[in-house]
């Protein structure tokens, strides 16, 4: 038995560019999501009383509440960003349950890409909300001595974000693979259900953490004025 944990099988070469399994499955996930979202949007506009429209509205309301709570205030652009992250990771967990299709988020490169998106979104959102100087000033906030610690926290939380998602999704698939190799048919089913549950939970956590990080970059000023949000939300 030779599980592909850190590798990624190349399906075909497009000139010098390899097309790997993770790229194919994440493209498949994105296509399915775009199709589902387009169908739901048309249903909301055309037949607002149908089931599809209700599902679309419930999903949107769920993501709206989630991001607004975690970011500490209304943030429409962040909603689009974090909601897309949630839908992609949850959709990847569903796609990963298909036979012979690996979960795209069980590859370290894919989860690192998602985490780097969050890493880049923090300064972009901070600069758009408060200007370059106002954003950079936060790195020297309590005392200039803490500047290296701020930098380390930015990098380590990005690393933790990618490793957490990768480890959870990959371990679920590894457990199912080991059980299939050991006993075969029916026994892995409950663990596949657990894997699906963990996938949704990780999507939820990834979204909350991304919203907290970006929301903290946007709203540090209002937070320090009214002091509403506790220190628990600033954990890395």
């Amino acid at each position: 038995m030779n599980p592909e944990i850190f590798g990624d099988r190349v399906l075909l070469w497009l000139g010098p560019v390899p097309l790997t399994r993770t790229m194919a499955t994440s493209a498949l996930t994105s296509l399915l999501l775009v199709a589902a979202c387009a169908l739901a949007a048309r249903a909301v506009l055309g037949r607002p009383e149908g089931r599809l429209a209700a599902a679309g509205r419930l999903t949107f309301g769920f993501l709206h509440d989630l991001v607004t709570d975690a970011a500490g205030g209304p943030a429409p652009n962040l909603e689009i960003f974090a909601g897309s992250l949630f839908l992609f990771i949850a959709g990847a967990a569903v796609v990963g349950q298909l036979p012979e299709v690996p979960n795209p988020t069980s590859n370290l490169a894919a989860t690192s890409a998602l985490a780097i998106l969050v890493f880049l979104a923090v300064p972009v959102a901070g600069i758009r909300a408060r200007g370059p100087l106002g954003y950079l000033k936060e790195y020297f906030r309590p005392s200039p001595l803490l500047f290296p610690l701020h930098l380390i926290s930015e990098i380590s939380r990005t690393l933790a974000l990618s490793m957490r998602l990768f480890g959870n999704m990959m371990s679920g698939q590894l457990i199912v693979a080991v059980l299939v190799a050991l006993v075969g048919l029916i026994v892995p089913v409950p663990l596949m259900a657990l894997d699906l549950l963990i996938g949704f939970l990780q999507a939820y956590i990834f979204t909350i953490l991304a919203s907290v990080y970006v929301g903290a970059a946007i709203q540090i000023q209002t937070e320090s004025v009214n002091g509403k949000r506790g220190s628990a939300k600033e954990a890395t």
Binding site: P3, I5, F6, D69, A160, M163, R164, F166, G167, N168, S171, L174, L201, Q202, Y204, I205, I208, L209, A232, A235
Partner: protein, 86 residues
């Protein structure tokens, strides 16, 4: 026992130890989070949504140390840079 055998033996033993000790710490931390969450739920059932949400976030953060240990032990087993012949 040549060098390769010693390296492989050490890697396998350390992979098991890494997973065991890492899971130990995460389990202790998660049990405390769970107990504190139940306590808070019993005291304030109205705040169930907020408590559960924060509890899940805290659980995921504590669990990530165990996940790091899992990744390290899998590197030792399947992608060890010091064991040749792969």
């Amino acid at each position: 026992m040549n060098d390769h055998t010693i390296l492989a033996l050490g890697s396998i033993v350390m992979a098991g130890l890494t997973m065991a000790l890492g899971a130990l710490g995460a389990a202790a931390g998660e049990s405390r989070i769970g107990a504190a969450g139940m306590d808070a739920l019993a005291r304030q059932p109205d705040e169930a949504g907020a408590i559960t949400r924060n509890q899940f976030v805290a659980l995921a953060m504590v669990e990530s140390t165990a996940i790091f240990c899992l990744v390290v032990s899998l590197v030792l087993l399947f992608a060890n840079p010091f064991v040749a012949g792969r």
